[in-house]
């Protein structure tokens, strides 16, 4: 038997055993697998009257909500995830469908570890497509509509796109319904210039908005980074070599402070190229390289830890939410 068949066979057999085992030990009064349950909760929404005093927003099970609805407030029913063992739990077809789609897409993503395949490409395309769509929608509703369109045509934008906008609010009335913010023409113009990249003859025009953004960011960040990453970092590096706490020498902190300063000086020496790295300077530069390597190692180890955590979460989902093996 080839390795390929062995791996596939082993993996599928393991999954089959898990599913079968779970199905066999499943009992009516125990949590089940592959099914999603919800329970209704009543949401006490905010008041419909003009806001003068914020009202409480609570989520309570229907059974516990006996008190009358406060005047001027709205109550709505929503559904929240539940265990089948809960008294008012209801089976949810839609959430069950979502659970299975999520589980199958997770397995499709994992399948790339074996080799590239159609399932993996489907999952990857979905992630890219959904992310791009989310980004575009967010940009439209966070930047274009509330700032650009509302600035240029406030009433029309509020009527068409912003139903929650209070057209009679003091701010709106103060501005005047038809008061347009003509300064918004500047970002509109700069934004339109970006599309000149599609016309080879006018591509150079797209550099202007990019130059504006880069220049603004650089100007804003320069002074702040000088303070936070230069002045304050120097301040943080000035540490006592001998730490005295409560009248006694704190040997551990003295050691760590000394090592920090020594490591810092060695790293700086490595990047100091005006003197040839020989003798003492060469030795310190070499120690500096070691300190840098340890830093990179720690950074890589943290990354590995993060990746293992991601795997853990996915397996928690597959084994717990989907297969119901991790119930309390």
């Amino acid at each position: 038997m080839s390795n390929e068949r062995l791996i596939w066979g082993g993996g599928l057999a393991l999954i089959a055993v898990l599913l079968l085992g779970r199905a066999l030990i499943d009992r009516p009064n125990e949590p089940t697998w592959g099914r999603a349950y919800v329970r209704p909760v009543r949401v006490l929404e905010w008041t419909t009257a003009p806001v003068t005093q914020p009202t409480p927003a609570t989520v309570l099970p229907l059974t516990q909500l006996a008190e009358p609805t406060p005047a001027g407030s709205v109550r709505a029913i929503t559904y929240t995830d539940a265990s089948r063992l809960q008294a008012d739990a209801q089976f949810s077809w839609w959430r069950t469908l979502g659970l299975w789609v999520a589980a199958l897409l997770t397995l499709c993503s994992f399948s790339y570890l074996y080799r590239d395949n159609l399932g993996y490409r489907l999952a990857e395309s979905l992630v890219v497509g959904v992310s791009a769509a989310y980004g575009i929608i967010t940009a439209v509703w966070s930047y274009l509509v509330p700032y650009l369109l509302k600035g240029l045509a406030p009433v029309l934008t509020a009527q068409l796109f912003l139903p929650r906008e209070d057209l009679y609010s003091p701010t709106f009335l103060k501005q005047g319904w038809n008061a347009c913010d003509w300064t918004m023409l500047a970002p509109l113009f700069l934004g339109m210039l970006l599309f000149s990249r599609f016309a080879p003859k006018w591509t150079w025009l797209s550099r202007w908005p990019v130059a504006f953004v880069v220049g603004t960011y650089a100007g804003i960040r320069l002074t702040m980074i000088l303070e936070s990453d230069f002045v304050m970092q120097i301040g943080n590096s000035i540490l006592p070599l001998i730490v005295v706490a409560d009248g006694r020498i704190d040997y551990w902190r003295s050691l760590t402070n000394s090592l920090t300063i020594f490591g810092l000086i060695c790293c700086l020496t490595y990047f100091f190229f005006s003197i040839e790295h020989k003798g003492t300077i060469g030795g310190m530069a070499r120690i500096g390289v070691w300190v840098l390597m340890i830093t990179f190692g720690a950074s890589f180890a943290y990354t590995v830890m993060g990746r293992i955590t991601l795997l853990t979460l996915r397996l928690e989902f597959l084994l717990g939410d989907w297969l119901g093996l991790l119930t309390e």
């Binding site: 390795n3 791996i7 082993g10 993996g11 905010w46 806001v51 003068t52 914020p54 009202t55 409480p56 927003a57 609570t58 989520v59 309570l60 929240t80 570890l113 074996y114 989310y134 980004g135 967010t138 966070s142 930047y143 929650r164 960011y217 804003i220 960040r221 002074t223 702040m224 980074i225 303070e227 936070s228 990453d229 304050m232 970092q233 943080n236 706490a245 409560d246 830093t295 720690a298 950074s299 943290y302 990354t303 590995v304 830890m305 993060g306 293992i308 955590t309 991601l310 795997l311 853990t312 979460l313 397996l315 928690e316 084994l319 717990g320 093996l325 991790l326 309390e328």
Partner: protein
């Protein structure tokens, strides 16, 4: 002793076996529910103390600068910090500079503030507020420090900030008592230090992903210890690290709270990766054993995920060691073989 064939076989092992081994190393501890309390490091304790030492009713900003991709690491952190703020009855101001941060905040409020702590009856607008997504990245940070309303005209429920009791006498983030940023990238902890703290000094702590942690270490400025510094809370409860339920009497070992002094710097404490989150959860269990008597409760996501970390790391270390041993043995064999053939050809 492994022969040449065994060495050859292991050196050419299909990497998919390694993937399978890793999956087993992660899955088995999850199934066996192997979990234990994590001893808190100074980094974590500094975050804990910042929240614990604040007087009840202090205003804490919880900034959720992350999305679903970092939920595994940062979700437990945000949950534990929200829980701690609820336990201490602090007023919580939730916001995010990530477009995808809005749903994250909604979930924490729904599950923790008005879910787990329903009996505390926290009032939206008085005890907590969700400002939602703030547009503008670092420009927003710069503006927020001085004037909240320049970024947020209203909260997510459409109420003007000026009408919210929780934000009475607060013009910018600089007026809050503490800022906690849970960050997965940019804008995140680094940007809040670089741009925010240079605008207005506020006590600031960070929770970040493992990838980000090395970038944030240089900003760590531990608050200076006071003369009557608290002993580490782990010192009195060694038996709790064995995974048993926490005895209520452990609460009696908590040192008395000191009067709060506002301490500022760059990052006063930070939670690095899942380990930091697990340490924070463990600290909550130690300090509040009555609220969290069961270590194996599903609430402690970070602690549960540390079991797989142990075995996965052991596997990685074992494989690195095995690979190096095989390389060294293989090289020696090759040298020995070439030495024999050289001497044979010489003779």
């Amino acid at each position: 002793m492994a022969g040449p064939a065994a060495g050859h076989w292991l050196l050419n092992l299909d990497r998919r076996w390694v993937y399978l081994a890793m999956m087993i190393a992660v899955a088995v501890p999850l199934l066996l529910r192997q979990q234990q309390l994590e001893p808190a490091t100074e980094l974590t304790l500094n975050v804990f103390r910042q929240i614990e030492d604040l007087p009840s009713g202090s205003r804490v900003a919880i900034i959720c600068d992350y999305d679903g991709a970092s939920e595994a690491e940062l979700g437990p952190m945000a949950t534990a910090i929200t829980r701690h703020c609820c336990l201490r009855k602090h007023k919580m101001v939730f916001l995010s500079l990530w477009p995808t941060g809005g749903p994250v905040i909604d979930r924490h409020i729904k599950e923790i503030v008005i879910g787990e702590f329903a009996s505390a009856k926290f009032v939206d607008g008085e005890d907590f507020v969700n400002l939602g997504y703030g547009l503008g990245e670092i420009l927003a940070i710069k503006a927020l420090m001085k004037d909240l309303s320049s970024v947020y005209a209203k909260d997510t429920r459409g109420r003007p900030l000026s009408q919210l009791p929780i934000l009475r006498n607060v013009s910018g983030m600089g007026d809050l008592d503490l800022m906690v940023d849970i960050s997965a990238g940019m804008p995140g902890g680094k940007e809040w230090v670089q741009v925010g703290l240079t605008q207005a000094p506020v006590p600031f702590v960070v929770g970040c992903t493992g990838v980000q942690a090395p970038q944030l270490y240089p900003y760590y400025t531990p608050p200076r210890r006071r003369a009557s510094a608290n002993p580490p809370p782990t010192a009195n409860v060694p038996e709790q690290q064995q995974g048993a339920a926490v005895p209520p009497e452990a609460a009696n070992n908590i040192p008395p709270k000191e009067s709060h002094e506002r301490t500022t710097g760059q990052v006063l404490g930070f939670l690095a990766a899942l380990k930091g989150a697990a340490e924070y959860e463990s600290e909550l269990i130690r300090r509040y054993p009555e609220q969290y008597p069961d270590l194996k409760s599903a609430r402690h996501n970070a602690i549960r995920r540390m079991g797989p970390q142990l075995w996965a790391h052991l596997l990685v270390i074992g494989l690195i060691g095995l690979g190096n041993v095989l390389q060294v043995v293989g090289r020696r064999r090759r040298l020995a073989t070439s030495g024999v053939s050289n001497s044979a050809s010489t003779s």
